[in-house]
Amino acid sequence: MSWIDLQDLLLQQHTHTLAGSPELQHADLIEQSLRFAGGLKQRNIKCIALYLLDAGDLALALLGAWRAGVQVILPGDMQAQTQQRLSAQVDVFISDISQIHDFFTDPLPAAALALDEPLLILSTSGSTAQPKLIPKTLRQLHNELQVLEQLWGQSLQQAVFMGSVITQHIYGLLFRLLWPLCAGRYFIRQHLPFAEELQQHSMVCIAQQRPFVWLCSPALLKRMGSNLDWPQLAKVAQVFSSGGALPEKSGLDLTEKLKQSVTEVYGSSETGGIAWRQGGQQWHTFPQVCISQQENGALAVCSPWLAVETEYTSDAVELLSPQSFILKGRLDRVVKLEEKRISLPFLEDSLQQHPWVAEACLAVTQSGRASISALVVLNEQGLHHLRNSGRRQLTDQLRQHLSGYCEAMALPRRWRFIEQLPLNAQGKIIHSQVMDSLQQERPKLPIVKQVTGADFNWQLELKIPHDLAYFSGHFPSAPVLPGVVQVDWALHLAQQHMSLPSDFAGMEVLKFQQLVRPADEVSLSLRFEPEKNKLYFAFTMADTPCSSGRILLAGQHG
């Protein structure tokens, strides 16, 4: 098998087919790339943005653009906001192969690609609105590709490359497209986000007795079900995983099913590949990568595929040797959710820009799957909307607002509305308490502000929680405290202060006069008459009666 350096992909040719459906021959790839390059040159294009999910189409577009000296931005999506953000620097947005065909004209002559121009701009796999743009030269890509081939090329031979990740980000671009392209290995054009699709393509390889490799994300690897044909899939030559850590349990599970360990690659858009491992905690650096620890405990990296001398990460690290280390988590509040980088401070700022929000604090919680949860203090206007339109309408509005700043993936699924964020003496948010609040179910009891009284006569000052669970009942768009809950609270709170018979035996003269809504402050009067076994209760709000009645009790005193 022959290797062709990245810069020479228009000068030299692999003789065998590069990809299928539709078939891609290297000679055709060169011819079409040069015609695309001619068109770009003729129209004096300087910068294009590409979003092409077909890796073969992307290869054509990249080689053509680079031959014409045109800078390529690879955004994570092609949403209107993304285009808007990039519009100042981008001449053309291309998301369909037909747009490339429209450019075809007389070809430029084949030539080596410029190695030291920043011809590629990657965007971080962020799901916040301001993904970082990271310029790369082809020399950086070339240097890293050579190391990948040096590490694993020998064992992969003529394996078919297929994967679940898209080629818009560094991992997919390098591993699913540029590496097989330089090495002359067959690649599957489409990304295969579902395990069933991965299996279907694997089965084709098995039937043809061709080895195959998976380039996957932890998001897929940790969700591969028992419905798959594992004895067959175990024929996979190697499984790569990158974009985030693969949970240890998933790694062990896959090792058992596949009879081999997944190869995890650690790196980022900024740093490129840094290290790899096959099981265990310990990472081994790529050849030519130097590591050190910064004063704040985070990892610093030097390598021939960096644009700067040293790249400083925010990942805490424990160095074991000059070539190995253990990762200890992020030092900032940037989290990874299914391989998407999410800046919690950015999302909090975005949320606080909403006219109803006073303060907000976000965290990642686990309920079914990991997702973002939001602890929110509403301002007066927000409270007004909660009281008049209900919680569902409120969370819909807030999610809608945030969707202007992030992908759907990062939208909070769990919301808790409280009076104030938990702060320490220095006025800093206590994140552990935020986490506790977010993990708790919504409250079912009132906040007791003050209690006075004695014997069988008590007066309680209560505040109705913003987020009371009962407000999502039968009238979710009109949150009112149900009468049955008021009776229940009266009995429950009375039992806390008085020794009462334990059994509920009925009710008398029940009256509901005024609605009680979120954030209302109410007084509760409780009086028990032992000789009649009757508990008298009355809820009032600023001396206006809300509800009152008598609860009949029976049985032993509690």
């Binding site: 579902f194 069933e196 299996q199 969700r223 079900g225 798959l228 309920s367 079914g368 999502s472 979710p476």
Partner: protein, 84 residues
Amino acid sequence: MSDLHLDLKNLIIDALGLEDISVDDIDNDAPLFGEGLGLDSVDALELGLAVQKHFSIKIDADSKDVRQHFASINALANFVASKQ
């Protein structure tokens, strides 16, 4: 609404942590993914696993129309019923 439809809706709400969504918010015919409920590709993976586990059925990995089974509640109900 049949018991199976209701069961599937509750499964979606629980498995995907959609606490502000009620079963009444999920239309039998509406697309499950993309707009609407705001579910993404990871939800699709989660739901695939949850459905297999909850109903003790297996999704035929070689079938070409796996995606169509998850298009809507109606499609999913038909699929689950055919497997039981």
